[in-house]
Symmetry: C2
Subunit: 255 residues, 2 copies
Amino acid sequence: MRSIALTNQKGGVAKTTTTVNLGACLSDMGKKVLLVDLDPQGNMSSWFGLDIHSLEKSMYNVFLEEVYFEEILKDTCVENLTLAPSNVALAGVERILANEKERDLILRKRISPVANNYDYILLDCPPSLGLITVNALTFVKEVFIPLETKVLALNGLVTLVNTVQVVKERLNHKLEVTGIIACRFDSRTNLSNEVYKQVKDRFHEKVFNTIIRENVRLAECPISAKPITLYAPESSGAKDYIELAKEVVELEKNM
Amino acid sequence: MRSIALTNQKGGVAKTTTTVNLGACLSDMGKKVLLVDLDPQGNMSSWFGLDIHSLEKSMYNVFLEEVYFEEILKDTCVENLTLAPSNVALAGVERILANEKERDLILRKRISPVANNYDYILLDCPPSLGLITVNALTFVKEVFIPLETKVLALNGLVTLVNTVQVVKERLNHKLEVTGIIACRFDSRTNLSNEVYKQVKDRFHEKVFNTIIRENVRLAECPISAKPITLYAPESSGAKDYIELAKEVVELEKNM
Ligand SMILES: Nc1ncnc2c1ncn2[C@@H]1O[C@H](COP(=O)(O)OP(=O)(O)OP(=O)(O)O)[C@@H](O)[C@H]1O
Ligand SMILES: Nc1ncnc2c1ncn2[C@@H]1O[C@H](COP(=O)(O)OP(=O)(O)OP(=O)(O)O)[C@@H](O)[C@H]1O
Ligand SMILES: [Mg+2]
Ligand SMILES: [Mg+2]
């Protein structure tokens, strides 16, 4: 079982887009995949067509230990792809649990009993490094960092890598950044190339060779309530995420 | 004095890009402008070339009432444009102040003494609706919502408008959403047009007529530590933000 947090406190870098589509491509390769929505925006949950405002139970209730994790799970339009949904209620967790002693360990406690039912567990994180993201980093063994290949996206990388290091030392010795994914790559301009080079120089083999190109089909896709492989299978978006999934599975050999 | 929060919990929709460039264009029109960085990422502060990791004092210290607001103010490369910087320390405020009685009123208390020194105060908010954003909404009279013209950006609008309503009823009767700004508009595809039409149908005259087009100069601009009007004055990015500033000033007539 591989558990991976898709995290970056910089907003709009394709965390949700990557979690949904990488997840779907891994399922297409025969893997049993669980997607956990940890963003109070609920973008991943609404992507799969859920009416998130009328969810009876969601990750909010799991954090407050009102329901078991498996009680909130939903099937998706893709075989072997399961979703743990969220909605805006999750934003309340930060303040409600602020003074709990083991506030960072809640997610690990709640998901561990069912974790081994899956080959891959992907966590879509919110654009922040607060309690919810720390819970994600305390549960998983791997961190993937989706990175928009633009200037503002580089700023936060140092802070993010430092945060992973602190969680590794204090709460989760197994935690490693195992992949940086270049997203929204615009090959019409030099900017994306330059940013990609800078990231490669700094993080070397941790940067996936597969680049996700800017592709309007990926921006349209959430309307369809399907991943890119079902919405636009011939698009560059679909091809790129299929390649990424192959590269991710390749990594298993070194584990 | 006009006080405006640039907020949207959806990440990467151009909150920072709009605060910096709209601010600079308003200064170019002779207005005295204050920009307040309320994002722990400190993207606006680093945009203006500050080394945010070595700031002695910042908005973090203002929230904890360790320094006066005017003690942290910095000049920028633009005349009449002043910056109140932030860095990652600001992320600690959410938990430190979680149980303070008047936690939502701190910003208003700290900025009000100097507010009338400016014609415009623009607040760049983080991608969340937590304590820092509520503080911003409690201080200002106006909310501008930068909106990426993509599908995922529409999801959060209802939650955002509801949050503004709750703050208006409980903490700040003067608060109004006075402007929605279509950003990162990609005229090569239909998607941006369709999203823009949907937003116009729902929010009518609150949507600015000026559209900010996708323009790589805007994505490159932060490297230069200057606003778009100095970095690439002939670009569509500069023209669009100049037009937006004119439209914003026009609104003064109805106030
Ligand atoms: N390769 C791509 N090509 C075109 N558009 C993309 C691509 N990847 C993501 N997008 C679009 O960019 C925007 C940001 O992506 P997404 O919402 O997945 O990022 P995020 O990091 O999850 O954002 P947040 O910080 O709000 O959680 C969305 O409108 C999405 O549709
Ligand atoms: N009109 C535009 N054309 C091209 N790129 C743009 C445009 N507006 C913003 N960008 C780029 O899009 C990315 C997101 O913009 P920005 O960081 O300003 O958004 P934000 O809402 O402040 O993000 P966050 O949620 O992280 O605070 C940045 O890389 C920025 O350079
Ligand atoms: Mg997301
Ligand atoms: Mg920003």
